[in-house]
């Protein structure tokens, strides 16, 4: 993991997940400590926001993020140079250690809420809400997903190598708090050494390591539930509805930090890459860092035409360099003129690859047809909500048709009626 220096100014947005905004609780001119609460979850679904660095509140305004526009934000001028080095972080461990077992899911959920943790998924929701929902639905199986959500994301491998103890600890908390039957650790089987390492490290615990092929979109919660437990999620439902809680690996170290060290979620390990990045790598970047600062530090090897927040399959285009990183930013891809190929759609040649490769068995061609004819009501019988938005149909389409885009559009327009 590479260091990222603290920028001169941070704009911390009040919305950093897919939900309503937090409520600002600080005034301009106040000095705040790193990790101090600056935005409070005011309504259901919103999340706490904390100061990423020690500094002074310099102003209040609006910023863009990759997935939202004109978000209320707090301008923070850091006074500390960021204590990024991991050694310094480790020494700040407070003595308040928790037992191996945590019987109360409410306590765990409250701690997650207090730290402003997200579930690191897409769409992003609060971890506390997700845990409470899982508890109320009587979830008995937990799947920890260590398979990268997208081919270009490399963070999980790093975390698996670095946070073995934290991962096992947090897993045991979840296991006892949810009174689970078993915890499944879904791992990429191509790294045999890591898999066997985890197998031996987790022997005697309720954790079962499952080696899976890392073939995109294996990391999708819907498919993991089917592959690991053989449970097919009925149309329009989520894994929790069939008694399975799928958590991203990144949740676990964050949860341990939150519970043990009272450290809120103020930064994230972000894979910065792409052909235009001069020094690609995994950086720990504070939320509220502007893309201009990131590009300035990482450096450019080619001129950038597109910045993607997230992976190449499911990410969002960043439209302005003044936009900022949020808790949703899993990676930043810098594309140059050659790699950012703008599709030039032609007529469908009926090759059938979109149908053949769709993990949900959809007919993207028919759904695109519905969009083009402008009658989304017809789409109901095509079950568009089975789409996991993996982007494979667009990926394989030789006519370069905007198939995934069409299905995503239909999903927004057509209500879910089974």
């Amino acid at each position: 993991m590479l260091d990222f220096p603290s920028p001169a100014v941070l704009w911390v947005p009040m919305i950093q997940h897919d939900g309503p905004a937090g409520c600002m609780v600080v005034d301009v001119g106040r000095e705040v400590e790193r990790g101090e609460l600056i935005g409070e979850a005011a309504e259901a679904g919103s999340l706490n926001v904390h100061a990423p660095l020690t500094g002074r509140i310099a102003g209040i305004g609006h910023v863009d993020t990759a997935r939202a526009f004109d978000v209320p934000a707090i301008q923070l001028e850091p006074t500390e140079s960021k204590g990024v080095d991991e050694g310094a972080r480790e020494t700040r461990v407070s003595s308040s250690t928790l037992p191996d077992e945590l019987k109360d899911i409410e306590l765990l959920a409250d701690l997650a809420d207090g730290a402003g943790l997200t579930d690191f998924g897409l769409p992003t929701v609060g971890l506390g809400d997700k845990l409470r929902r899982a508890a109320s639905k009587g979830v008995r199986d937990i799947i920890i997903n260590t398979i990268p959500a997208e081919p270009t994301l490399l963070v999980t491998k790093l975390l698996l190598a670095k946070y073995l103890d934290d991962i096992i600890k947090a897993t045991q908390w979840l296991y006892s708090a949810l009174d689970a039957r078993r915890v499944w650790l879904a791992m990429d089987r191509s790294d045999a050494r890591q898999v066997t390492g985890y197998r031996s490290a987790t022997s005697g615990t309720p954790i079962r390591v499952v080696g899976l092929s890392n073939k995109y979109p294996q990391g999708s919660p819907t498919l993991l539930t089917k592959v690991v437990l053989g449970r097919e999620i009925p149309y329009g439902q989520s894994p929790i509805d069939v008694g399975v809680l799928v958590l991203e690996l990144e949740v676990l170290p964050a949860l341990v930090s939150a519970v043990r060290r009272n450290e809120p979620m103020v930064d994230r390990i972000v894979t910065v890459g792409g052909p235009a990045a001069k020094r690609p790598g995994n950086y720990r970047i504070c939320v509220g860092t502007r893309y201009a600062d990131i590009l300035g530090y990482v450096g450019l090897s080619h001129s950038v035409v597109r910045i993607i927040d997230g992976g190449l399959m499911k990410g969002a285009s960043v439209k302005s360099l003044d936009a900022v990183v949020t808790k949703q930013t899993s990676s930043i891809m810098l594309l140059d003129q050659d790699t950012d190929r703008i599709p030039n759609p032609g007529p469908c040649i009926h090759c059938g690859w979109c149908q053949e490769d769709c993990p949900a068995g959809l007919d993207p061609m028919a759904l695109l047809d519905v969009v083009e004819r402008g009658c989304p009501s017809e789409a109901k019988s095509l079950f568009p909500h089975a789409c996991i938005e993996c982007g494979l149909c667009s990926y394989v389409c030789p006519a370069e048709l905007p198939l995934t885009e069409a299905v995503v559009e239909i999903k927004q327009k057509v209500s879910l009626d089974v």
Partner: protein
């Protein structure tokens, strides 16, 4: 580029926007045509070796006419698509593969023009046609110039004259030994023979008391050329039909690139094998009456499974494998799902063998593909995939 050179940050407002995904795997439609062209060129090369420069003659006429008709139509309708010429080229090459090398110049002219005009351009181009243009053109010349495209005597270059020989005149082989071992003088550059597909579609001449095994053994021993000869293509036939090995190599290329899907191949070959083994062969008795004999594939003779050999001849004879491996996988005229491809292959196998064995039709593989193409709509409707998370409900289209 030096390390010290500083690339400026992008200008405000210059960043591209747009929805995910940003990653595209298949760069357009042209590479598909290019892969098919590569596969077809393997077959063409085999034809070049077997039939000499006549292959190039047919190929050049066919390609030139295909491109001419396509570009004329693009010009007239002012609808230029960057890749329509690539597909016209492919149609031209594949159409040449289906013709015997000895045809007159007007056969590829009419056939290629028919294929492009009625097969590809008028239906609205690639993606909109129902029937494979090549097969449509081939069926047209089959009807118009029957004697030209299915001649009684089929030419192939004699041993020692491959590739450079002149495909003209030639010595007729009435009874076939192996192509390499047949005693002909060094001056003879061309051998004329009746291709196995012709023998297999016509009634077997035999006597009334003969058993199935003896009859098949007689056919294999006295009339048909040795089976390995049909693999190498030295028995003659169409430019692309003759050399089975080249067709299989081309098919493997398409299989590897994912255009040819294995369920289709398996379904077609299994159905063809089962049907040839079962369906009755027609026999012509010495007194002029016709009769039928069931289950020729199960026949044995002196402990030898001659029925099996008979089935093998049916697989490698004529256009069956060319149609199955090179023409049927065309993206536009084949079904959408793999399950659909299996049904598609099943239809090709069944119809080819039924038309050949029961009705004695020449070029039955092309007719079979036309029929299978026609069924694609029905196949697509009935082989929809089950949508994840739904049971016993079918999507409505």
């Amino acid at each position: 580029m030096s390390d010290n050179q500083v690339i400026p940050l992008p200008e405000p407002g210059s960043l591209r926007s747009g929805a995910s995904p940003y990653w595209r795997g298949v760069p357009g439609v042209v590479p598909i045509a290019a892969t098919f062209l590569l596969a077809a060129s393997i077959v063409i090369i085999s034809g070049l070796i077997l039939f000499g420069w006549n292959t190039l003659r047919v190929l050049a006429i066919s390609v030139a006419v295909a491109l001419l008709v396509e570009s004329t139509f693009s010009l007239l309708t002012r609808r230029t698509r960057s890749w329509s010429e690539a597909y016209a080229l492919l149609v031209g090459v594949l159409f040449a593969c289906t013709l015997p090398p000895t045809v007159n110049w007007h056969v590829p002219v009419v056939g290629a023009a028919f294929a492009i005009m009625l097969g590809q351009v008028l239906p609205g181009g690639v993606g909109n046609y129902i029937w494979h243009p090549v097969v449509l053109g081939r069926i047209a010349v089959q009807i118009l110039f029957h004697d030209q495209v299915t001649p009684k005597w089929s030419s192939v270059l004699a041993p020692g004259h491959l590739l450079w020989g002149n495909l003209d005149g030639g010595q007729e082989l009435s009874t076939l030994g192996s192509w390499g071992s047949y005693p002909v003088s060094q001056d003879v550059q061309t051998l004329l023979s009746v291709p196995p597909a012709e023998h297999l579609r016509l009634p077997i001449i035999t006597e009334s008391g003969v058993s199935n095994g003896e009859m098949i053994a007689g056919l294999v021993r006295d009339i048909l050329p040795p089976w390995p000869d049909t693999l190498f293509g030295v028995v003659g036939g169409g430019i692309g039909e003759a050399c089975v090995i080249a067709v299989i190599v081309a098919g493997l290329l398409l299989l590897w690139r994912g255009f040819l899907r294995w369920p289709m191949v398996v379904a077609a070959i299994v159905s063809a094998v089962v049907l040839t083994a079962m369906l009755p062969v027609r026999i012509l008795l010495a007194d002029g009456t016709m009769a039928t004999r069931w289950f020729p594939g199960l026949a044995g003779w002196e402990g030898l499974p001659v029925g099996l050999v008979y089935v093998c001849y049916h697989l490698t004879a004529g256009e069956f494998l060319l149609v199955l491996l090179l023409l049927a996988p065309d993206p536009s005229s084949s079904p959408l799902t793999s399950r659909g491809h299996a049904w598609f292959g099943f239809i090709i196998g069944v119809v080819t063998i039924m038309l050949r064995v029961l009705m004695g039709m020449p070029a039955s593989g092309y007719w079979a593909l036309i029929i299978a193409n026609t069924m694609v709509g029905v196949i697509n409707r009935t082989t929809k995939r089950r949508i994840f998370g739904t049971w016993r409900v079918k999507p409505v289209y």
